[in-house]
């Protein structure tokens, strides 16, 4: 190689390297994935518990004794492993479950007959463990008690489908180190809209339950539906801070929205609330803001995700008698009002305590919002400014205020740094899942609250990426024959025009949340 050629090669290398150094990249899960959720668990450290709501920033009000006790009880219930009946778990009722999420954690079953014939999971925290219990979907160690150390992984890959030797086929979209996914079918075989969740797993083959030997349920043909493009994926959202979000009045949501109307119009951003068909108020939980309240979410998830019927959702999603056992009452997680019930619970479980689904909502209500990095970098601080300047905050509203008077003083009249307007927006064909929920159309999604995004692993409703940069860019979508253009297009265009340093600052800012 001649001298000139060498110089050219060196120069090219330098340019390439400088380009790399200038290229922006997602710094990844804040603190490192190994120091959060299942990453801690595989080091023998229990997954941290959800944080109790912090004292009121102005009045100093805290939860009272009963609220704290209910919060703790909720954690306990959300950690319990459900079997298919009261007497067929592999541990004595009230015993710690060996090898489960936290081997030290007392998992006490109460008055639930357990997992439904079809389900997506058999324990709340299976799908809510990143970066701590009650968080979003992450990885967990299939069996922490195994003498051979195991890596944390997607619990839908090995753990849940084969618990108690159940004979489930794992669909190809559940990857070992991929997102926890549940599926909705877009259309029914007759071509009409479906939109409902189709549970991944059945209890067929359970070796721990002698009452359902003839269960012959089969899973839907997920691969065929996948090939037909009929699947819409959803990943678990975090449960933290939901009590604060619920405490925001509709008038605050609408006022915040109105305040940005002129700027949004300039950038082609609309947005509208999803509303309850019952009382007309703004619904705000779930990927499409389809759920009215955390109570509604708790009851619905208990039945849809785990197949456990309750007062709020009293009908089983799968009623095959061969797979539900002869003694399984309906609903099976209820407020107990009986004194001497027929199956002797008065002797085995004399405590008439609240059902699981009610305790879940109390736990969520008093779980603090995700805490941002207390020492954000200069780049992250700069990113906060740019984030607002280019228009991200027109939808990702940094802060709202809770109602002036709440039943619990710790929740009232305090700021909520949620980074969401709680509205639904058209996101275009790239993100559209072709599912309609309430007034949220096939390409409309709630502005995902960004608090806690710094420690999430996967992004978007379908968990399509773990790269925050791609997540930003996937907000862009041109109009198609079926869908309008994404409302985020102008803002993404501004983002793309920024310098690499500015883009990096935004990524650093987001990972500081």
């Amino acid at each position: 190689m001649g001298r000139l050629q060498k110089d050219i090669a060196v120069t090219a290398m330098l340019i390439l390297l400088s380009g790399w150094s200038l290229a922006q990249r997602d710094p990844g899960v804040r603190g490192g994935i190994q120091n959060t959720g299942g990453g801690l668990q595989q080091q023998g450290i229990p997954i941290p518990h959800p944080p109790l709501i912090s004292p009121h920033p102005v009045t100093g009000a805290t939860v009272n004794h009963n609220e704290r006790a209910s919060f703790l009880e909720g954690i306990l219930r959300a950690g319990q492993l459900e079997a298919t009946c009261d007497t067929c778990n592999d541990v004595t009722d009230g015993s710690p479950v060996p090898g489960e999420l936290d081997p030290q954690f007392p998992q006490i079953r109460t008055n639930s007959n357990g997992t439904g014939a079809r389900h997506n999971a058999d324990q709340c925290f299976v799908c809510h463990a990143q970066p701590q219990l009650g968080g979003s979907g992450g990885f967990i160690v299939p069996n922490p008690a195994d003498p051979v150390p195991q890596h944390a992984e997607n619990p839908q890959f090995r753990l849940v489908p084969h618990r108690f030797d159940r004979q489930n086929i794992v669909p190809s979209f559940e990857k070992q180190y991929g997102p926890i996914r549940e599926v909705r079918f877009k259309y029914k075989p007759d071509g009409t809209r479906d939109g409902g969740v189709h549970q991944l797993w059945t209890v067929r083959g359970s070796t721990n339950d002698p009452t359902i030997p003839n269960c012959a349920l089969t899973q839907p043909d997920f691969e065929a539906e996948l090939r037909a493009g009929n699947l819409a994926f959803r990943i678990p959202l975090q449960m933290t801070g939901l009590g604060l979000i619920e405490s925001i009045q509709d008038r605050e949501i609408l006022a915040q929205h109105d305040a940005t109307a002129a700027l949004r119009e300039l950038l082609g951003i609309g947005g509208h609330p999803n509303r309850s068909g019952n009382d007309g108020t703004i619904t705000r939980f779930g990927w499409k803001a389809q759920n009215k309240s955390i109570t509604m979410f708790a009851g619905e998830a208990y039945n849809v995700e785990m197949g456990i019927t309750n007062e709020l959702f009293p009908t089983a999603t799968e009623e095959d008698p061969d797979c539900n056992g002869p003694n399984k009452p309906l609903p099976n997680d209820v407020v107990r009002t009986d004194r001497d019930d027929h199956d002797n619970k008065a002797f085995d479980n004399p405590l008439h305590i609240l059902p699981d689904w009610m305790q879940f909502q109390v736990m969520m209500r008093f779980t603090d919002g995700p805490a941002p990095d207390p020492n954000p970098s200069k780049s992250a601080q700069h990113g906060r400014t740019i984030f607002a300047d280019i228009g991200c905050s027109l939808c990702h509203t940094p802060q709202m205020q809770t109602a002036p008077v709440m039943l619990s003083p710790v929740l009232q009249d305090r700021p909520v740094n949620l980074f969401s307007d709680l509205m639904v927006h058209h996101m275009g064909a790239r993100l559209a899942d072709d599912i309609i929920q309430g007034q949220a159309g096939p390409d409309e999604f709630r502005t995902t609250p960004l608090w806690g995004v710094g420690q999430r692993i996967f992004f978007f409703h379908d968990g399509r990426t773990a790269d925050l940069l791609k997540a930003i860019r996937d907000h862009f979508s041109p109009a198609t024959a079926k869908y309008p253009a994404s409302e985020a297009n102008a803002v993404v265009h501004r983002f793309n025009k920024m310098s690499p340093e500015e883009k990096q600052a935004i990524l650093d800012f987001l990972r500081s949340l």
Binding site: G60, H65, P106, I108
Partner: protein, 320 residues
Amino acid sequence: MISELKLRQSATLVLFLASSAGVGAGQVSREFYRTFAVSPSESLSLQVGLLDGDLRIGYARDGEIAVAVAAQDPTRLDLETLASRLVIAQTGNNLEIWERPGTGSQNLNLTYTIDVPYRTEVHASVRRGKQTITGIMGPVSAETGIGDIEVSYISLRVAVTARTGNLNFEVVGGRIEARTGQGTISCQRAPQGISAETEDGDISLMIVGPSTATVKRGAGRIDAGGLRGTFVASTDAGHLHVKAVPHEDWHLSSMSGTIRVELPPTARCDVDAGTTSGDVFINRKDVERIGEDVRHVCQKINGGGKRIEVRTLSGNVIVT
């Protein structure tokens, strides 16, 4: 109790109450509030030694300890006086809080609230005052001279002693050791069971693993329901009542109290019940009593199963 010598030897950050003020901007408060950062990747060891006042220790969040001291009547809270007697010392993930001897805070009605991470081990001692410990992994050891102790939502073992005071436990994952000189003991949902002993007072157990319950003297009674393991219970003059499925053997005794055993209709067990001067009653339509001895019954119910041994000197025995 933490020794003063130990504190002197440790290279610690010593904080006096006088160095603190206020709970938030714009607020006038004489309440002490201070936070300490701790490593979230390690367990916290918390040792507390107080002379007078109520102590509340509870889970709030990882990575942080928050200590607050409040008086029922804030106008009487003399921070400077307190400063001379309260010491908070931190060494990494070890935190010690204690009151110097001879400086008790009578009449102030102080409440010490300590919010801690889940992975916290507690050793607490209070001379006079109520203790409440909740929501942590443990283990927990707590002792008090005069005052009640409430322990709830603890994952590991718990050891609690009071000279005079009621002891209350709810949802404890590890074994419980509970002793009180005078006071009641109640426990709900302890899968590893409890060893409960009171010199004089009632004992109530609900949904517990292998357990013992002892009332040493007086008319204190024992109530137990939802037993999961072996159960050994004895009273002096008090009554004894068990309502549960006999999953394991039971041994129930009383000097002069009546012992009542409630079993579900389907329960299988071997009943061996005897009284020296009282009567034994089998009040079940489905069980035909064998033998003529009114003071002793030894027979199988529903084909037999775990052994239920019942003994009382002058009380009655009732099996339903």
